[in-house]
């Protein structure tokens, strides 16, 4: 099967509000995909649906041919939009937890990245700044040898230098059969590493193209096109 993620006519309604409307999207293996949209466009809802934290009102999502659930969680490494780790734990404790929890967790890789980002594994999370916590979470997520990585706003809170390192980490840890989906609105920082971009607006997919197609056709960066499409 060539698509790691298939999404057919997915709609998600919260009360009277539709967060996603009839979304159909196929994402192949071996790609880095940017899920781009303004605030409240449905990016996080989409990612949560793929991780079985929400269930679709209608439509179907298949990951590696299976509905989101226990089996897909084994192959999907998910970075949520907010910190869910216990504040009182040390980084080394959390690494132990991940090792016990996920069979594809590569402990050595995690320690190596911590070292490169100058994070002491003996530190407790509650002593860390927001940016450092985000780095720890991303390290944990990227240390899994998953088939699909879903990163919800991975670089929002970190400084530009660490952002470069994180993108470098994503590139160097990425195995060519795995797919990475990154949701963000910090487009100019990441567009160089993306294969494809998906623009999402008010719960609908408005554009799916490769970065070079966009640049070729419009003579603009993805960032400039985004500003045009989503002009307020």
């Amino acid at each position: 099967m060539s698509n790691i993620l298939e999404c057919k006519n997915v709609t998600k309604v919260f009360g009277a509000k539709a967060a996603l409307r009839d979304v159909t999207l196929n994402i192949p293996r071996g790609k880095i995909v940017g899920l781009l949209g303004p605030n409240a466009s449905g990016k996080s809802t989409f990612i949560k649906l793929c991780n079985d934290l929400l269930t679709p009102t209608s439509g179907e999502i298949l990951i590696d041919g299976k509905k989101p659930g226990v089996d897909t969680k084994k192959i999907v490494s998910y970075l949520p939009e907010r910190n869910y780790l216990n504040d009182w734990m040390r980084v080394s404790d959390i690494i132990g937890l991940f090792r016990d929890f996920y069979t594809d967790f590569n402990e050595e890789k995690a320690y190596d990245m911590l070292k490169r980002l100058d994070i002491n594994p003996k530190d407790k999370l509650k002593t860390m700044s927001k940016g450092t916590k985000e780095k720890v979470q991303l390290i944990l997520v990227m240390s899994r040898e998953a088939q699909l990585y879903m990163l919800d706003e991975p670089i929002g809170g970190v400084d530009p230098a660490a952002r470069d390192y994180i993108l470098d980490t994503i590139l160097s840890n990425y195995n060519e059969n795995a797919t990475i989906i990154i949701s963000t609105h910090l487009i100019s920082d990441i567009e160089k590493i993306l294969d494809e971009v998906v623009f999402i607006k008010e719960g609908k997919i408005v554009l799916t193209k490769t970065v070079d197609e966009i640049r070729e056709e419009s003579g603009k960066s993805v960032d400039s096109l985004f500003r045009e499409v989503f002009k307020c």
């Binding site: 590139l171 294969d195 960032d223």
Partner: protein, 123 residues
């Protein structure tokens, strides 16, 4: 040599230009082995698939060749590199002449400006 990529042009074609430049300037000498796709992609901070496409195009053009067992190499054909150099030179000069014409200089003036500046730079 840092990788300079502009944000309003396709990454793929810019990678081709930058690799050509590196071959012409001897950063990647004739007949030498090129770093792996992954390493090059990381160095340029671009998507490995895009780097792979750029290398495939350069291979198609004959500037690179793949040895199945040992990786990707720069051509040993001196003439081919000379051709690329000439093409790059032509492109640079065309851009330059266009800008100078926009500034209102004619051909004679441009030539004399070049001579003067070249003399100044020698000293």
């Amino acid at each position: 040599m840092p990788w300079e990529l502009k944000s309003d042009r396709p990454i793929y074609s810019q990678l081709i230009e930058q690799i050509e430049l590196r071959i012409c300037s001897g950063v990647y000498p004739l007949g030498s082995k090129l770093p792996s796709v992954r390493d090059l992609a990381q160095e340029a901070a671009v998507n490995p698939n895009t780097m792979q496409r750029a290398l495939a195009k350069l291979e198609e053009d004959g500037l690179l060749y793949t040895n199945r067992t040992s990786g990707r190499f720069v051509t040993e054909d001196v003439n081919m590199i000379k051709q690329v150099k000439n093409r790059l030179a032509k492109e640079h000069v065309q851009v330059f002449l266009k800008k100078m014409t926009e500034l209102g200089f004619d051909y004679e003036e441009i030539l004399s400006i070049i001579t003067t500046i070249a003399e100044e730079m020698k000293e």
